[in-house]
Symmetry: C2
Subunit: 265 residues, 2 copies
């Protein structure tokens, strides 16, 4: 009997956020420290209840603003900024031991922020390398030498480590995989970059997110040859050392054709 409004089981609906950025040559996710049981002391993805008359995407954008001060770019608007999209929904009956909670996870891609976590009512929000949070994180980059495993979780409030609370390990893994595959066939890598960036900085985004090394020359030829991907902004910069690099902005294209395929293992 579809849509009988008289008798239905009540659910709580939340949004959880997988907020990813690239900082210090590592793919990082935003996590908050839980101060209440269950999973007290564990790290978790930011999130919260959807309000009475609030759209799902609006709830995700609101939570994002509360945790980071970021304003999201709704899909459709053109100005550069933070990217927000729905990821997936998680609703196993016992994923929260207290009650039936269905969580609509969203994926956020953001550039490295000058102020890591500004304001926010969750005071303990931190950026943490995905490799430290997930048992099977991204393969370490060319010069990365990450720690071995992920021993404790509840002890040290300083360095966020997995496993995360609830089913957030799986949500984070799904978000990371979504981000990795979206770099292949969309221009979303620019969401990790500041408004103006060089080809080398864009390449480092791909290398960090995919965990591989890319040929700088082929990469340059590929991205500058894809129409609508990059627009020269006129200036140059030397902030990376070496010969001054041309600065670009994100172009209007959203889909990459042909795609940028990940090298296989």
């Amino acid at each position: 009997m579809p849509y009988d409004p008289s008798a239905f089981p009540p659910f709580a609906v939340t949004v959880d956020l997988v907020v990813l950025t690239v900082r210090r040559q590592a793919l990082c996710a935003l996590v908050v420290r839980r101060g209440e049981p269950p999973h007290r002391g564990r790290w978790a993805l930011p999130g919260g209840f959807v309000r009475e008359r609030e759209d799902l995407a609006a709830a995700a954008a609101r939570e994002l603003g509360e945790e980071t001060g970021l304003r999201s770019r709704e899909p459709g608007t053109e100005q550069p900024g933070v990217h927000l999209e729905q990821l997936a929904t998680y609703g196993e009956p016992d994923r929260d031991p207290r009650m039936r909670v269905v969580s609509v996870a969203h994926l956020v891609l953001a550039p490295d922020l000058p102020a890591p976590v500004a304001g926010g009512d969750a005071g303990s929000a931190r950026w943490a390398p995905v490799a430290d949070l997930l048992p099977t994180g991204p393969p370490p980059g060319p010069d990365a030498s990450e720690g071995a495993g992920r021993p404790g979780a509840v002890g040290d409030p300083g360095v966020p480590r997995g496993p995360l609370a609830f089913d957030h390990d799986r949500i984070l893994a799904d978000g990371v995989e979504r981000a990795r595959s979206k770099l292949e066939y969309s221009s979303l890598a620019t969401a990790f970059c500041p408004p103006e960036f060089t080809v080398g900085e864009l390449r480092r985004v791909y290398e960090v997110v995919w965990g591989v090394a890319l040929d700088p020359r082929n990469f340059h030829r590929k991205v500058t040859g894809t129409p609508g991907f990059l627009v020269p902004s006129g200036g140059t910069t030397t902030r990376q050392g070496g010969r001054p690099a041309q600065l670009f902005r994100a172009g209007g294209a959203t889909l990459l054709n042909p795609p940028m395929l990940r090298p296989e293992a």
Copy 2:
């Protein structure tokens, strides 16, 4: 304040199904006729409430069985059959005028069924060409000559036409687009085929779903050359007329590498 279980707005959670198949050279979706207001007399996607202690995927599989008698293939199992995956979640505050309903839509790909809609407590379930349901349906195939628009909706109980009830037009459009893009980089086209099929039948699936004509010779070379996509089953058939065609089963591969890219317009 994330996860405060004491005060939260209550939601109803449903699953809606986009069930797609290929019949009579057209991409078709399963729709049910609404017998109750709101949208009485309009066609809608099958769906229903998630039960008290039921997983989302289990609810989708249950609804699918109730509407079609089909058993779904959970992601992970290997035997051929119906494919089911989560599509997206729709939760605008006023998408259902009666109450706050969050719907977790699922996508089902099924082979053409001998009994179009067997059993089912929704007696009015029907297959309808997607082109008749959506204002911007798939481009008509090589020899298709579909009707022009979609005039009425409530009048004729025989031929399902859009617009669908609630926001199901958008859900269906999202499901169709997901199916189209999944044919590119996965082997899911075989989910539209019977257990044994020919290369020509598989090609017709691609042509109908994408709404384009494909070169039979290049298609043959491509799919038989992709390792793990097709496994010869030994037999041949002449059910299409002409020279007998080799029969295949779906191979173990799920991801197509390199992908089968859609021809551009």
